[in-house]
């Protein structure tokens, strides 16, 4: 690693270990300085290739710096700063260290130019983010954290399998556009691993399962990095892959449908992450310059407004202890600042003009229009109405207005409000001055968000969505239920499989397989063994005993001759010699 280039991810991952040595004000300053330094580091970086190391005859590139990795690194380190600011009051070093490691690993993925270093940071992200779930230290969080980690380890293994296959097929570990290997096994495995992290259904149920169980401050970090780093690697490797267009469009609608049914505030927002990431996946799939710009811009804007929304829901959770919409209501009286800041995030995600979503989401929708995909265009627009319906109307209505629950919250600590304020400022700045964001996008931008038609049709759509909401309000009352998702397969499905194995399958094994074994294998084998035993005892044994007996009787005969008496032997020898002499004389 060269001295003139400092990896911002390494700065955070190593810097995190300093926190336990500080306390009080110094620690809080360090918590802010680390991500701020990473942000400045990314900001000062010039495009190029840095941090090249040789390993197993391959080049590991830790610093591929170009326009695409730079813009993601800006928003990742900015989000790291906002997240740490939001968590400043939390007295738990392990949470802060996990969060900083998580941000650092996401930056590592962003700058990785080869598959091996990508894989290492990919797994580090999974482990550090699991900690953010576990550290809520409640049984439900521990269980959700284990499910989350297992799913991501599964994804990591698929990625590793794809990488090894790709390496053995091409002899190279370089990570770039995978279009040339389209359709191959390695291509598919790596794509599946990326899609799992992007929470594309049916591989995305880990997201709404785990995020609402994370710590209040940890969830804010989690909204930003795993799915958006997956979008980054998809743009890098899989831009223009047709299947992504449809997966993305379905995903955008899928998240909205589940949001209707959801009662947990943070889980509702989590389903809207899936919906919003759907726009990005769709943009990656369309793959034109406008579409990849749109996916990138939307990822940038999304990280900021979604963090703001999670911060708002987290503030309510922190001050009231409530997470279910059916139990909230009437909080506007005591938490007006939180409400106002939350609404800025809600307007941004709903793509209201002058807020960030309006200038980023519309790029993806326009790209679908430019490439003449009517159905995708309609699905994305429908999901857009659904986003406003839930995040902009339903959630604030039941959380802050609605039936007064009698609970009285209070505004969150100042650092949380400041973090929310900064995120809100970013949402408005991007919306009012889209050029600030557009100038950093990977491709040159030739797109005007503020056209007359776009503004009027958006306002019409949002306004009449609101009308529909108020007309159908009584059907939208949140119900204390949970919704089945594909996590059923490993939460209930596996238990049902086990019950099947223990009950009917075990009986079948014992009754049928065991009995057949008795007749087909055990009895014939025992019969043969019995026969061999007889053969052994009768024939082989008698033969050996016979040999022994005849040896014994022969030696009885010999015993009389071999007496051990020297005179006796001399007499026999003399008799022998005399006999031989007599024979010799007689024969002559």
């Amino acid at each position: 690693m060269t001295v003139e280039w400092l990896h911002p991810g390494l700065l955070l991952i190593l810097g995190a270990w300093l926190l336990p040595f500080f306390s009080g004000r110094v620690k809080r300053v360090a918590m802010l300085i680390l991500p701020a330094a990473a942000l400045i580091d990314c900001w000062l970086m010039e495009p190029g290739t840095y941090g090249v190391m040789s390993f197993l005859g391959q080049e590991l590139v830790f610093g591929r710096v170009d326009r695409l990795s730079l813009i993601f690194s800006y928003v990742f380190s900015l989000m790291g700063f906002l997240g740490m600011l939001y968590a400043l009051h939390v007295e738990d070093d392990s949470q802060h260290m996990a969060a900083l490691t998580y941000v650092g690993a996401a930056l590592g993925v962003t700058f990785a130019g080869d598959f091996l270093s990508l894989y290492v940071f990919w797994e580090l992200m999974a482990i550090s983010s699991s900690l953010l779930v576990w550290l809520r230290r409640e049984p439900s969080a521990v269980a959700a954290g284990f499910r989350y980690l297992l799913v991501h380890i599964f994804g990591g293994l698929i990625l590793l399998a794809g990488i090894v296959l790709h390496w053995s097929e091409t002899g190279s570990l370089a990570f770039g556009d995978m279009g040339a290997f389209s359709g191959g096994m390695a291509w598919a495995l790596i794509l599946v691993a990326f899609l799992l992290n992007a929470a594309v259904p049916p591989l995305g149920a880990w997201l709404p399962d785990a995020y609402p169980e994370a710590t209040i401050t940890g969830a804010v970090f989690m909204t930003a990095f795993t799915t958006k780093s997956a979008i980054y690697v998809l743009i890098r490797g899989y831009a223009g892959t047709e299947i992504l267009v449809w997966l993305g469009a379905v995903m955008a609608v899928y998240g909205v449908v589940y949001a209707v049914l959801e009662n947990d505030a943070r889980r509702l927002l989590a389903y809207h992450i899936i919906s919003q990431v759907g726009y990005m996946v769709c943009g990656v799939g369309i793959g034109t310059a406008l579409a990849t710009n749109g996916a990138t811009a939307h990822a940038f804007a999304h990280i900021l407004y979604k963090a703001l929304l999670f911060m708002g829901a987290g503030a309510v959770l922190q001050s009231t202890g409530l997470r279910k919409l059916s139990e909230m209501g009437g909080l506007y009286k005591t938490m007006p600042l939180t409400l106002g800041l939350y609404m800025i995030g809600a307007f941004a995600i709903s793509a209201v003009p002058l807020f960030s979503g309006f200038v980023s989401k519309s790029m993806v929708v326009a790209a679908a229009g430019e490439t003449h995909r009517e159905v995708v265009f309609l699905m994305l627009t429908l999901a857009s109405a659904g986003t406003f319906l839930h995040t902009g109307l339903k959630l604030p209505y039941y959380m802050f207005f609605g039936k007064d629950s009698g609970r009285r919250g209070h505004e969150p600590p100042r650092n949380m409000l400041v973090a929310m304020g900064l995120a809100a400022v970013a949402c408005v700045l991007i919306g009012v001055f889209p050029g600030l964001l557009y100038q950093h996008l990977p491709n040159p931008v030739d797109f005007l968000p503020y056209t007359l038609q776009h503004i009027t049709s958006t306002l019409g759509m949002l306004g009449f969505t609101a009308l529909g909401f108020f007309l159908l309000l009584k059907h939208l009352d949140p119900e204390p239920t949970i919704s089945l998702d594909t996590d059923w397969f490993y939460r209930r499905g596996s238990a049902d499989v086990l019950a099947l194995v223990r009950g009917p399958l075990a009986r079948l094994e014992f009754g049928f397989v065991g009995e057949s074994y008795e007749f087909v294998i055990r009895r014939p084998v025992l019969g043969v063994a019995n026969f061999l035993r007889h053969l052994d005892s009768r024939v082989v044994d008698s033969a050996i005993v016979g040999v022994g007996r005849s040896t014994q009787s022969f030696s009885q005969v010999l015993k009389t001759m071999v007496s051990g008496n020297a005179q006796h032997y001399g007499l026999i020898m003399a008799a022998g010699i005399l006999g031989l002499l007599a024979l010799a004389i007689f024969l002559q």
Binding site: V256, V257, Y258, V260, L261, Y332, K333, P336, L339, A366, G369, E370, H372, E374, F377, L378, T381, L382, A385, G386, L389, F401, T451, L452, Q453, T456, S457, T458, L459, G460, M461, L462, G463, F464, T465, A466, L467, G468, F469, L472, H475, L476, E479, P480, T481, I482, S483, L484, D485, R491, R492
Partner: protein, 87 residues
Amino acid sequence: MNFLQRLLEDPVRFARIKRWFYAGLAVAAGAEIVLPHIFHGGESHFSFEDFPAWGALYGFGSCVAIIVVSKLIGKLWLMRREDYYDR
């Protein structure tokens, strides 16, 4: 008593907000119908976008469709008791 409380808890002011909301909707739909005839943009990608008040109609339709269809799927299939996974 903050600003929102004064606005929402007084029935007269609340009724006024409601009227403003409906007026706003009328303006939004009206603008969508009228403005394209005054300023010719011609930037729509599909012909259905040129249908009068397309955004308002599609927004309202989407909203109703999402609520009705999702609730149907939920009631018939997806929604379970909260302790479903704990039993």
